[in-house]
Amino acid sequence: MRFFRSALAALAADIALAASAQAPSPPEAFLRADKGHCIACHQLPQGHGPVSRADLGTKLEGTRMRAIGREGLRQAIADPPRVNADTLMPPFGRHRILESWEIETLVDYLHALP
């Protein structure tokens, strides 16, 4: 019985770990007003971060993020006007709002979104 209970607990822990791996919390750069502040313009998939009605930017959906790819995401964050002159998105890398490592954190996060 004790073995059964601990196996069940281990399974529950594994499930929780898997869930958190699938949906990591947004990094600081995603939320902070003096950093990316992505949440001001974009919505996250329901249940995977702060709820927002912002729609100045597109919804952030994992399928689309993975279709763009890591390099595409990196460029879209670092210098979006280079990709699209009409975009409203700030050049986070070129204008040094975000450090390279912060952009990488965002790329990882977006790429892992459900």
Partner: protein, 274 residues
């Protein structure tokens, strides 16, 4: 007889130039109006003076519920407006009809000074003429409350800003400033209030360029926030060094922005959250 003929020719040229300038300003306004009408097809332009509340029923209800907050600000403004100067005159005496129905015609272009004169500048010109201490342009307590009061005297009047030929450069400069991206965030005023009008930044819809100038100063946190004060906040959000309240840049920007609202009704001192 040759003199009157040449005078007539000059008058014709002046009228043509004035017409051309009006046409240029009006073409800019019409182009922006058409773009917003297409983008925001569900919202009638007559609702644009409501700003963000035009796109959010819940916010509109809160704005209406908060309208009482304007009363003490307008009362304070009225006191300043009617206060007798040391020479017995008053701010009210400096303006036609004691200031009734004049705010809808500001800003105005002064051909003698070759500058745009905002309502705030006109208030300070009066104070200066009568050797009274000037009000700080961006100060919500003094200048904010007095201009909120004067604009309440134009409640419901249609905005009627004129762009004479000589003011063309100032109008175009205001337009350039509105469309120029600046600051660390690389935004232009038009990025949010034209391209993004009606969409939500955080939880709040972005007000459209047309209609914005109808409702300033707004009552925020119990004080009157002037249009220049708000523009400075926007510039800070854009990561740009804000132009000073009362600067030529913000005057030109106000001139352009207010002309866009021509024909819409003044909506004085609305409450705003935050």
């Amino acid at each position: 007889m040759r003199f009157p003929e040449s005078m007539r020719a000059i008058a014709c040229l002046a009228a043509f130039a004035a017409g051309a300038s009006f046409a240029a300003a009006e073409a800019s306004r019409a182009e922006i109006a058409a773009r917003l009408a297409q983008q925001l097809a569900d919202v009638p332009a007559t609702n644009f003076p409501l700003g963000a509340a035009a796109f959010d029923e819940e916010l509109r209800a809160r704005v209406e519920a908060g309208s009482a907050a304007a009363a003490p600000v307008l009362e304070a403004g009225k006191k300043v407006w009617e206060r007798k100067f040391r020479n017995g005159r008053s701010l009210a005496a400096c303006f036609p009809n004691g200031g009734r129905r004049v705010a809808a015609t500001y800003p105005q272009y002064d051909p003698r000074l070759k500058r745009v004169i905002t309502l705030e500048m006109a208030v300070n010109q009066c104070l200066k003429t009568h050797k009274e201490p000037l009000l700080e342009h961006g100060d919500p307590q003094g200048m904010g409350s007095v201009t909120a009061y004067v604009r309440s005297l134009a409640n419901g009047q249609k905005v009627a800003v004129r762009v004479p030929a000589a003011a063309d450069e100032r109008f175009e400069q205001g337009k350039r400033l509105y469309f120029t991206r600046r600051g660390q965030r690389n935004f232009a005023c038009a990025s949010c209030h034209l391209q993004g009008a009606g969409k939500r930044y955080l939880d709040t819809p972005l007000s459209p360029a047309i209609g914005q100038a109808t409702h300033f100063p707004v009552i925020r946190g119990g004080v009157a926030l002037t249009l220049h004060g708000r523009m400075r906040q926007c510039l800070e959000l854009m990561g740009a060094a804000p132009f000073a309240a009362g600067s030529e840049e913000l005057n030109d920007l106000e001139f352009f922005l207010t002309y866009l609202s021509n024909g819409l009704r003044v909506l004085p001192a609305p409450w705003r959250p935050g």
